[in-house]
Amino acid sequence: MIDIKLDDNILPLQDGESVLEGLLRHGIEVSHGCRAGACQACLLQALAGELPRGAQAGLKSTQKSLGLFLSCQCKPTGPLEICFSDQGAKKVSARVIDKALIGNNILRVRLEKVLDFRAGQYLNIWNGEAGNTLIRSYSIASVPQLEDFIELHIKIIANGRFSRWAADAMESGDQLMIQGPLGDCFYTPGDPQQPLLFMGIGTGLAPLYGILRDALQQGHEGDISLVLGARAEEGFYLREALARLQRDYSQLKVHFVCQSPSAFAGDVDSTDIYSFVKQQFPNTKGMKVYLCGADSFVRKMKKQVFMSGAAMNDIHADAFFPCG
């Protein structure tokens, strides 16, 4: 009998039973649908143990790398420790080590690197350590192999309770509770020649900045395009850092797109990001695409690049939602 460990419970599987069947038999509620490995409703995450062949069929490379699997297709040959996806993220206290304004209402916060992550994942973060605090999610901009800190880019919103607290009250030395890593928007080495297309608006640049540097430091050779949109030119940030990266890596090209660039903006295209992308990348077949920023942008751009040829499994997205 094979043992499945879920939280603190050991749930033995009967011979020939899939993980889904076993969990349901033990009275655990697991979403499921087709029971044929196609609809992905029964996705769970393996924390330890070996997954049998076929248990990850059809999943994105990022999901496979996180140990996500189709519980209806999983008949393990050895014990597995599992959890519901994104339930495995640890909560830990982190010290704020740096805080700086790096753009128009954009706060860069650096925390001590108290947990492991892949560039592009995100954290849940509380504005303190005790119970009655605010919680928000922010994507990580740093790369664990390159930097000794966790970097977040926080957009300061006029009546945003968390961002206002971070801007006005939070100080270096403060201890915050964080939970992570979460999310499946990160680089996986597959084909080092595959063209990569990164697109973001506002602080969507944060995770993209991490993912693309991660791709570069992992030796990605194919063309890398980064397209950044903003309402006006002052919405862009990290321009010098990006210019340096372009100089150091010939395969990287950065495009800034906004509706109303200034007269001096030599390198900023005057148009909307959708038209720009349609014109510059009319055929996205074979490209791996990363989309980060407001949910409305992510949804619209996801559809656009899919319709122009990118495979659904090659489109990775990290959508931001306003929280007030």
Binding site: A36, A38, C39, F306, M307, M312
Partner: protein
């Protein structure tokens, strides 16, 4: 060899799903049903649908299909649009006409459930 094995099994479904989904999203008769949904979740459902009509493993009951589509008040025209896009996808992938007809037949067998008739 079963239909599913003949046309290539799970690999055939993988090859077909993005092609089929793009056709559906370009078809004005039915694209509006997909306006506000999560694309990844919908692609997974398309995969389950294709697996079923290709004669592959499927555990959806008639009741599941009825309940799943009831709220959309689908008509014959909507159903036919899906079959057309399915046939066109299979033709593009080089599937034999007789197999396409068998697949359309499987889809047709669940018509009453999908249209809640």
């Amino acid at each position: 060899m079963s239909l599913y094995e003949r046309i290539g099994g799970a690999a055939a479904v993988d090859a077909a799903v993005d092609v089929f989904y793009r056709k559906v999203l370009s078809d004005d008769r039915i694209s509006h049903f997909f306006d506000d949904i999560d694309m990844d979740a919908q692609a997974a459902k398309q995969k389950a649908f294709l697996t079923m009509v290709f004669g592959g493993p499927n555990h959806y009951s008639g009741r599941d299909l009825r309940e799943g589509h009831k709220h959309m008040a689908l008509t014959e025209e909507h159903f036919n649009a899906v079959i057309e896009n399915l046939a066109s996808t299979l033709q593009e992938l080089g599937v034999a006409q007789s197999d396409i007809e068998e697949i359309a037949g499987i889809a047709g067998s669940v018509k009453d459930d999908v249209l809640n008739r």
